[in-house]
């Protein structure tokens, strides 16, 4: 990358003719890359010609030490219709892109598309061929304009700061506000540093890069959504007199946590987004089911709140008030439910889902 970066600015300075090197142009040879499990290239090998034999035996063009690879695992031949990959005698077969070849099968390799990934045993290989299109150069983070690089993080950070400050302002008395704000900022900074630092450590361990900025971004974005979630459902529950909105707002909170975890993990194990999505999804479902079960055990209800306890300024109320008589009459159905619950022995009552709300 650095070599490219250094070479690139020189090119425009020279006239087109003079830029042509005196030595004959390098022939575009196929390149075989050996990938690490995180997708980074560990080793490259230029291929002078075909066929190419890969296996554990030493008489291969590329001898491997992977115990899950057969002595002569695969061979790529150049034929009249292009390159053909032959899966030789092996137990584990060959993965070509999304296809799996068993021993004895073969397939043609697409010489024009994206570089092909070939999996044998636990080894991941990538074959780059001269005719394949090159992907665009990915700009370095440092080369991006500051607004694009830091803009989202700064904006999220400002929102989180504003939200936390507003909460502190709400909860403190006028004379204690500044002290409370200082304490809140210190603890928030500390919490952010510890949280993102631990994730960066994990990333560094598994991907050799800390990705601190990524983790910071994930945490700040999640915090913005979290702050919004701590107000919006409560406000709806109050304004419309819909207690269930705040009663079950914990489901949305768990969704935010699961999403944030997914994006944090993505910077730890970038090669397996599907697995991580499944982990985050399963975690979310498990947390919601556990929370519902715990609520049911604790109070006989699935929701988290016995009653809607969020009061906002009276002007925000939308629902129409009803007369006392109508409200008191609404109690009548509770009698049968209470009598049913009263007949349950304490053990039953604390047991499974026998109370239907």
């Amino acid at each position: 990358m650095e070599l490219n970066a250094a070479a690139a600015p020189q090119a425009p300075e020279l006239p087109a003719e003079a830029a042509r090197p005196p030595v004959p142009p390098v022939e575009a040879l196929p390149l075989l890359e050996l990938l690490d499990r995180d997708g980074q290239v560990r080793q490259t090998q230029r291929l002078a010609g075909w066929p190419l034999a890969i296996g554990r035996a030493l008489d291969n063009h590329l001898p491997l030490s992977d115990p899950h690879v057969a002595p002569h695992h695969l061979r790529i031949d150049s034929g009249p219709d292009g390159l053909v990959l032959h899966a030789l005698a092996s137990r584990n077969g060959v993965a070509v892109g999304k296809r799996r070849l068993r021993a004895g099968e073969s397939c043609a390799l697409d010489a024009a598309g994206a570089p092909l990934e070939i999996g044998i045993g636990r080894t991941r290989l990538r074959l780059r061929l001269p005719g394949q299109a090159l992907a665009d150069e990915v700009p370095l983070a440092a080369s991006l304009p500051g607004s694009r690089r830091f803009g989202p993080v700064l904006a999220a950070g400002a929102l989180v700061f504003a939200g936390l400050s507003f909460n502190t302002w709400l909860e403190s008395d006028p004379e204690t506000f500044w002290r409370a704000l200082g304490a809140m900022l210190l603890s928030a900074l500390f919490a952010i540093a510890v949280w993102c630092g631990l994730w960066a450590l994990l990333s560094k361990t598994f991907t050799r890069q800390a990705h601190f900025g990524w983790h910071l971004k994930v945490m700040l974005f999640a915090s913005v959504v979290w702050l919004a979630l701590s107000v919006v459902p409560d406000l709806f529950a109050f304004a419309l007199s819909w207690p269930w909105v705040s009663d079950f707002s914990f489901v949305a909170a768990y969704a935010v946590i699961a999403t944030a975890l997914y994006f944090h993990l993505l910077a730890v194990e970038p090669a397996r987004p599907r697995l991580l999505r499944a982990v985050a999804g399963a975690g979310f479902v498990a947390a919601v089911v556990l929370a519902l079960w715990f609520n049911q055990q604790r109070s006989g209800r699935y929701g988290a709140e016995l009653y809607m306890s969020h009061l906002f300024p009276p002007a925000l109320r939308v629902a129409r008030p009803i007369p006392v008589d109508r409200f008191v009459d609404k109690l009548a159905p509770l009698q049968a439910q209470l009598d049913k619950k009263a007949k349950e022995t304490p053990l039953d009552g604390g047991g499974d889902d026998d109370g239907e709300e």
């Binding site: 302002w169 709400l170 909860e171 008395d173 006028p174 004379e175 204690t176 007199s241 207690p243 109070s299 006989g300 209800r301 016995l306 009653y307 809607m308 306890s309 969020h310 009061l311 906002f312 300024p313 009276p314 002007a315 109320r317 629902a319 129409r320 008030p321 009803i322 007369p323 006392v324 008589d325 409200f327 008191v328 009459d329 609404k330 109690l331 009548a332 509770l334 009698q335 439910q337 209470l338 009598d339 619950k341 009263a342 349950e344 304490p346 009552g349 604390g350």
Partner: protein
């Protein structure tokens, strides 16, 4: 050790009800050792005469674990008929009455004779029980006479309370008759003398040795502030139960029936007494007339420029002891908030916090269901309220419920009132009636 605690627990259970709203910090329960000089002052000649005359009528009532020799609680009692009827407190025999499969009752006389006893009748509302000696056949007992209802005592007259404090031994303590306790739902005598745990159910006698009342409770936060059940309730219980067959136990049906009668009278009297006028400059906020309740108020001005508040807290002295818990009481409280110094948003946050900071559970799951609630915005003649009503059912007292109502006013951006009404052991109809009565007391002035 267990015995003493249990004995203490039994009496203090009721004493604590009386002392529920204490002005001064409740003192520690009187320790047995420290209590001795106070409980047993040097008897005057008449105290000695009273004790000598009534010694043979006096008994200790022990609740014993079935099949084991250990006692789970002790109290006192006395013979009221030649046929061996004994009067004591319900709370002394409640374990035997409600969990007969585990407990036996035994009475012990002053000369140490021990014999079983059975329960004939209970009066839960006045905390009385009528027992009969198990060995009554062919035996004649010395009995204490009850002072006739018409002969009232004068305030300051000497009375003598007898019993077996803390299982230490039979004792007589002197004190004064101070009339009836003010604001008690059921009449109780204010005894200016010392009572200790274990004396519950013992008689309090006048100079002539006639029973004035039955020891029942004391205030733990005062000195020599004790309570007696007037003898006339014992008289009524004897009349009702002397020929009764031994009570079918567990006595929950009787307990429930008496609590039903209590809640009917409580609801009636509570609604009848009405509300105090002018309880808030802006609204009419329900504060009960304190005929059988005691109201305390307070105010807090924020020292950090925050929200100011005033509160009123009305509770009943009387609660009905029902074995593992007490019930049958009403409490009404409200807090009035002034948040003009902090503005609408900050006020709303505090209003919500206070609204959230309420508990609707009272008894453990073995006694009561978890609460079921209904909530709405209410319109009280233009005044908007947020109201929550929660109800709990008793597991062993069918068709009795606890009612809790929580109310917040929602008309001013930076001031408001939150009120809470609690009533225990109501029929469902009366729970609805009291909820309506309470909610309809909110309005504009």
């Amino acid at each position: 050790m267990k015995l003493r605690l249990r004995a203490l627990a039994a009496l203090l259970a009721v004493a604590a009800l009386v002392g529920a709203r204490a002005q001064v910090t409740p003192a520690e329960p009187v320790a047995p050792g420290a209590a001795a000089p106070e409980v047993l002052p040097t008897p005057s000649p008449s105290a000695r005469q009273v004790y000598e005359r009534s010694r043979s009528q006096l008994v200790q009532i022990r609740t014993v674990l079935k099949g084991r020799a250990s006692q789970t609680s002790v109290g006192s009692g006395f013979f009221v008929t030649k046929e061996g009827h004994i009067v004591t407190n319900f709370h002394v025999v409640s374990q035997a009455a409600l969990k007969p499969e585990r407990h036996d009752l035994v009475y012990v006389t002053a000369d140490g004779r021990e014999a079983p006893a059975t329960i004939l009748q209970i009066d839960v509302l006045h905390d009385l029980a009528l027992l009969r000696a198990g060995d009554a056949a062919g035996r004649s007992f010395d009995a204490l006479g009850l002072r006739p209802e018409g002969r009232t005592l004068a305030q300051g007259e000497r009375i003598y309370s007898l019993g077996n404090p803390l299982d230490v031994g039979f004792a007589v303590t002197e004190g004064n008759y101070n009339g009836l306790v003010r604001r008690s739902f059921y009449p109780q005598i204010f005894f200016g003398g010392a009572l200790s745990a274990g004396m519950s159910g013992g008689p309090a006698l006048d100079q002539d040795g006639q029973v004035v009342g039955i020891n029942v409770a004391r205030r733990v936060d005062g000195e020599q502030v004790s309570f007696l059940v007037p003898a006339l309730f014992a008289q009524a219980l004897i009349a009702r139960g002397r020929n009764a067959a031994p009570l079918e136990v567990p006595a929950y049906p009787t307990l429930t029936a008496q609590l039903q009668a209590h809640q009917a009278e409580l609801t009636e009297r509570f609604i009848q007494q009405g509300w105090k006028p002018q309880t808030h400059p802006r609204y009419s906020v329900p504060v009960p007339v304190d005929e059988f309740m005691r109201c305390w108020g307070g105010s807090e001005v924020s020292r950090t420029g925050g929200m100011d508040l005033e509160r009123s807290d009305c509770v009943m002295d009387t609660q009905i002891f029902a074995g593992d818990f007490s019930t049958g009481a009403i409490s009404v409280r409200h807090e009035s908030y002034d948040g003009r110094k902090i503005g609408a948003l900050r006020f709303a946050a505090r209003h919500a916090l206070s609204f959230r900071n309420e508990s609707f559970r009272r008894l453990r799951a073995e006694h009561q269901t978890p609460p079921l609630c209904e909530e709405e915005f209410l319109d009280r003649k233009g005044l908007a309220l947020r109201a929550v009503i929660c109800l709990r059912a008793y597991k062993k007292l069918p068709q009795l419920y606890d009612l809790s109502v929580l109310v917040a006013t929602l008309d001013q951006p930076s001031a408001g009132v939150q009120g809470r009404f609690d009533a225990q052991g109501l029929s469902f109809a009366n729970a609805q009636r009291l909820a309506r009565h309470y909610l309809e007391a909110y309005a504009w002035n």
